[in-house]
């Protein structure tokens, strides 16, 4: 049993960072930025959920994935080429962006929904706080930097240099006061989400203003 998938043809595969790739196909549905799709290489093969990483008006849609050596899906996905057929569900999910102020907090491929939100025009009053080990692991940093400018913060746990906060994302969150009345969107690993959420709550942010999406 599984999600119902439709065939789509791969347009291109882009290297998005160390061990990270984005696969694109022609947009075959409408969606809200932040939604996910189930994807498989085969009509009835292993399925995984991925956030769409592109704007909801773009002609092409794509998902960002980390290559998991030995994994059931991503080694095959990383090997697809233009014209290859993959299988994708309709979009779904309620981790969606809106106009108005919001803080976005992400690590790893958890940036994907925020790339989609940005590419869908949700730029104003957004602050992105991004955690990674070293500078090459900030997936999508060119897009975030160019659109959010000084509202884009990179927290590098094992790197230093111009434009980087030297320390973990959670250290950055702990070192500041946070507005209590705006929504906080958290997306990434379970550990990051739980730690970041605890810090925000300890700094007075109501848990009702924190929306999270854990990457499996």
């Amino acid at each position: 049993m599984a999600f119902f998938l439709r065939p789509v043809d791969v347009i291109r595969l882009e290297n998005s960072g160390p061990d990270s790739w984005t696969v694109y196909w022609k947009r075959n549905f409408d969606f809200l930025p932040g939604q996910v799709v189930a994807l498989s290489i085969f009509p009835s093969g292993v399925q995984r959920l991925y956030s769409l990483a592109t704007g909801n008006h773009a002609e092409e849609v794509g998902i960002l994935f980390n290559l998991a050596p030995g994994g059931a899906l991503t080694p095959l996905l990383q090997a697809v080429r233009p014209g290859h057929r993959i299988y994708v569900s309709d979009p779904f999910g309620s981790f969606v962006g809106f106009k108005g102020p919001a803080f976005w907090i992400a690590n790893g491929t958890g940036v994907a929904p925020f790339l989609s939100m940005l590419d869908s025009g949700l730029i104003e009053d957004k602050v992105m706080i991004h955690g990674a080990r070293t500078r090459e692991y900030f997936l999508g940093q060119e897009t975030f930097s160019s659109l959010l400018r000084e509202s884009y913060v990179r927290c590098a746990s094992a790197d230093q240099g111009k434009g980087l906060f030297q320390g973990r994302l959670t250290t950055y969150l702990s070192s500041r006061d946070w507005i209590k009345t705006v929504p906080y969107y958290l997306c990434g690993s379970a550990s990051m989400i739980v730690e970041a959420r605890d810090i925000l709550i300890s700094r007075g942010v109501p848990f009702k203003n924190i929306l999270s999406e854990v990457y499996f």
Partner: protein, 347 residues
Amino acid sequence: MNPKTVLFGKTLEELKKLAEELGQKSFVGTQIAKGLYQRRVSSFSEMTDLSLPLRQRLEAEYELGLTLPNKVDASIDGTKKYLFPAAGKFIEAAYIPDTDRKTLCLSSQVGCKMGCLFCMTAKQGFQANLSVNEILNQVRSLPEGNELTNVVYMGMGEPLDNLENTLKSLEILTADWGMGFGVQRVTVSSIGLMPALETFFSRTRVRFALSLHNPFEDERAQLLPVQNVHGLAQIIGFLKSIQDTDARRLSIEYIAFAGVNDTPRHVKELVRLLHGLKIRVNLIRFHPIPGTPLIGSDESTLVRMRDALSERGIPTTIRRSRGQDIYAACGLLSTKALLQNSNQQDF
């Protein structure tokens, strides 16, 4: 030297295949299964229904794979919390004796990915899926294992996020050739991952408990992040769609939080949501965890909720807390303190 292959945790099909690979008839696999799961042997030499050469070969090339707990904490109410080594780390399992039943609450993962706001296990993040062997070892190597009447998959981890190993463990746990627990004695609790839930219902007959905790989708997402992807309407819709052909008992787990999910508005929505579903509700007292913004509902509110739901045709009980003094109660299991610093992730 290659590590020996572990046999405890293999299904009958796998054991029959193994027997054939060893040049035996496939029924030898059934004999091995009965030794492992019914006679509960602690060495291959006790499998006296096998030939001596086969026993010697098993001894040389295989191992049972049983692991005793390292530590036990005992509660004043009789509950015991056992610490088992698993997946290179540690897991906890709670043994809960009562007058008429002896229940084991076992773990299916080291840590958990679900990130639920009210759960201590969530605070350690996710470290590993448990193997079938590691799931069932909690039953087999429990000192009180012979006394167990019930097994619940409600410890650390989300069972449906470790689907194949959970399903295999359930097969072994409930099979006639296996550990022989009646399907009505085994309950799997889940926050409801789709489509894994469909697979679970198609391949098992054990009882199911849905961790619901709020009937409003947007409010549930504040407590359980997974709601953003696996929506309640879809889960409840699925449960309603199968109840005509699937008679197993369904229940709802509902931790009551003061002012968050315990108001008349929530009761009304819960009744609406569950309408047409033959299901019971377990109201659970919240056991506070460090840094939580949540407060448990008071006793009078719990009673009011129970009565309101019962009056509307939904059988509802308030679950008695057990093992709270040893952090074995619902939502308190965690082995975070035992993790090495190297597990800290880069973010």
